[in-house]
Structures are given as structure tokens and as C-alpha cells.
């Protein structure tokens, strides 16, 4: 049996305490940052009584012509064909569009995280609150819904989401505007009496010349979410046959992007 002297045990304990000190310190700092007085009560189910973004010949929440889009963004949109949108394969939308969808969503404020559940497409976002030792993405980690971290300040919940995968409609899925892995979305939630207001700011240096922003208010709801949404790919694609083709010969697109280097037909 190996014997360890008392002085060695004390030294080992001191060393372990030394190692743990930075974590304990950051936890305390983070907790003091979110005092009860600074934490808005936004726990519950929310919806927009005016329906939110609804397609009737207008774009929403953004007016495309007013957005500071880079030339490559406009070029991408010009070339993009509607049937290529991931939504027709039941791929969920992402922020900022997700916030604007006319469906209910639920916010659950837990100690170490905030969980946002959307009725649309069964999306569940976890916002990892600072100061709780939550997991951090590594270099090269990218997620369809990105990685969200959050904190409370001045009676607002601040959610910062990065690490998105490239998304062909990730800036606006109604207007087919793309987003890159450099996209960062900052959401600020606060109570405004009976309403909850959300300010959504998006930056993406690859596709935007400047940040874009919208602010919406939501009402609370006593109705539960209707889950699961269970998007059906067969139903999702049904309307596509009604859309006149953008390209004269849709096969041309497929041949153009062939990995075998085939050329478009004359």
C-alpha cells in the first residue's frame, strides 16, 4: 500500500483548489451579472396576434430592396430556383426567419439554459447561459441551428448565435437570401407590460454590407403548442408542380453541376 504523507495531501489539495479557482471565479461573476432584478420573466408560450409573416405578395420581415446586400447575395438570389429550397425537404428555418414565422413558440427559463420550442418544424433551441460551464463548440463545429449562448442584462435576455452551417435561405427563407458560417444573430427579449418584445440583429460579412434588424412584439398564449409538427416531405413538395419552371430546361441545372464535368447541352 502506498503511503502519502500529510504534507503531500495538503499540497495536492492546494493544487486542486488552485486549478479550480478560475472556474469558480467566472461562475460567480456570471451569476452576479444576472441578478433577479435584471432577469425578465418571459417564461411561457408566445404568438403574434397579427399572424406574423404571411406570404401575400410581400416579403417579410425584410424588404429585400432595402437590405444592404452584397453583389454576390443578389447574384445568388437571381440564380436560385425555388424548388432547391431546403424547406421542401422539411428542413427547418433558422433565425432570423424562425422568429418571424407565424407559429407559437415556448420559452422555458431554466437555471443554466433557456429552451425555446417552436411549433413550426419541431425546432428546439437550447440557449446555454453563461457561467454554468456549458459546452462550447470547437473549431470546425457547425450546426444547422447554430450554437446559442445567452445572458441577462438590463432586464433583457440576450441570445447570441453563431456557428451556423451555410444555408441557402439562412438570411431570409421567404426571399431566398443565403447565409454563411460567419452569420451571427443577436436576439434581445424583454417584457413590455403584457407583451414580450424581441429585437433581432443579424450580421453576415459574406452576404451583408451592414447589420440588418427587425423588432417584433408577441402576446402570451394559454393554448399549448400542437406538437409534434411532423413535417411530411410528400406534402411539403406537393405545390412545387404548380410553379412555372425558372429555367427553360430544369435538367440543364443538374448537368451543369455534375461532378463529372459534363457541359450543358446546346
Amino acid at each position: 500500500m502506498i503511503k502519502i504523507s500529510r504534507s503531500s495531501r495538503i499540497a495536492a489539495a492546494a493544487f486542486l483548489l488552485f486549478l479550480a479557482t478560475p472556474y469558480a471565479d467566472s461562475t460567480l461573476k456570471a451569476q452576479s451579472r444576472a441578478t433577479a432584478a435584471e432577469t425578465p420573466d418571459i417564461d411561457g408560450i408566445w404568438f403574434r396576434s397579427d399572424g406574423g409573416c404571411t406570404p401575400d405578395g410581400v416579403t417579410c420581415p425584410f424588404v429585400v430592396a432595402e437590405l444592404p446586400l452584397k453583389a454576390r447575395t443578389l447574384g445568388f438570389r437571381e440564380a436560385f430556383d425555388e424548388p432547391l429550397a431546403p424547406k421542401y425537404d422539411c428542413v427547418p428555418s433558422v433565425v432570423p426567419s424562425l422568429v418571424a414565422d407565424p407559429y407559437k413558440f415556448q420559452i422555458e427559463q431554466l437555471a443554466d439554459r433557456v429552451v425555446i420550442t417552436y411549433e413550426k418544424d419541431d425546432v428546439i433551441r437550447t440557449v446555454w447561459m453563461e457561467g454554468h460551464g456549458n459546452p462550447q463548440p470547437k473549431v470546425g463545429d457547425f450546426y444547422q441551428q447554430g450554437h446559442s449562448r445567452g445572458w441577462y442584462e438590463e432586464n433583457q435576455l440576450v441570445v447570441e448565435t453563431t456557428k451556423f452551417t451555410f444555408d441557402p435561405v439562412g438570411l431570409d427563407d421567404m426571399s431566398n437570401l443565403p447565409s454563411s458560417t460567419s452569420k451571427k444573430v443577436t436576439e434581445r427579449y424583454w417584457r413590455d407590460g403584457e407583451l414580450m418584445t424581441v429585437e433581432v440583429t443579424t450580421v453576415d460579412p459574406l452576404f451583408l454590407n451592414a447589420p440588418i434588424q427587425f423588432t417584433w412584439s408577441f402576446e402570451s398564449s394559454d393554448e399549448p403548442l400542437y406538437l409534434p409538427y411532423g413535417c411530411d416531405p410528400e406534402l411539403s413538395k406537393e405545390a412545387l408542380e404548380f410553379l412555372p419552371p425558372k429555367y427553360e430546361d430544369p435538367d440543364l441545372v443538374r448537368i451543369t453541376v455534375s461532378p463529372y464535368g459534363e457541359q450543358p447541352r446546346d
Binding site: 401575400d56 417579410c60 409538427y229 413535417c231
Partner: protein, 135 residues
Amino acid sequence: MRLRKCTVYAVTAVALILVNPLNAHHSQRPFYDYSQWVEIEGTVNRFNFGNPHPVLYLQVTEPDGETVEWKLLFPPASVLMRRGWTAEQFVPGDIVTARGHPSRRSGTHGMARLTITRSDGTVAFGGGGGASSEE
């Protein structure tokens, strides 16, 4: 006072259902010609009640005697379930009349902003000129 507030909410909710399109899956105008109206009568083949759009498959006999299948798309099932809809809202063999805007692509048989009336005259969906039923 409480009753009055509830009444206001209820009236507002009904009004919103009537005037607002109810789906953000995609914009409708590229798919349907809003300058045209069509009306058809047909027999229900099947009703697929799901998200993002329930679809009613309707067998219709054209004026030239040819039989074609029309596909009528509805707002999301999650929205319709709040109105009490189920997968049995339409059953095979039901005879209905549908009015709405036709699909744009030639040779296809789709319709949007629907008003659907059953053979006994009851309105099964929409009404008000179809404005209530935009998908």
C-alpha cells in the same frame, strides 16, 4: 368586464383567421394566378391531413369527359387542429365544390384561397369569396 375582454379577444381572433393568410411555408403568388378564379365539382379521393399543408385530392370530370385529379392545399394542420379539424374532415366519396385561384403552371390542377362547399350546401372551408382560405 372580464366577459367583454374575452369577447373582444374572440372577435379579434375570428377576424384574424378570416383576413390573414395562415402559412409561411412559401409565398403563394408564384404558384397561383391570383387574377383568375376557377370552380370545380369533384369527388374526394383522399385527404392527407398533415404539415406543412394538408392536401385534398379531388377527382374531377372535365367538360371534355376526361377525369383529372385536383390537389387542393390548406393551411397547416396545426392551425386547422385549433379549429377542431381532424383527418376525417373529408372522407373518400364526399362530393364537394371548390372555388379559388388556379395553379400557374400549365397542365397542373391546383388551387389556392379556397372556398369549399359540400353537396348539402354547407361551407366546409373558407367563405367570403375565398379570402379566408389563403394558404
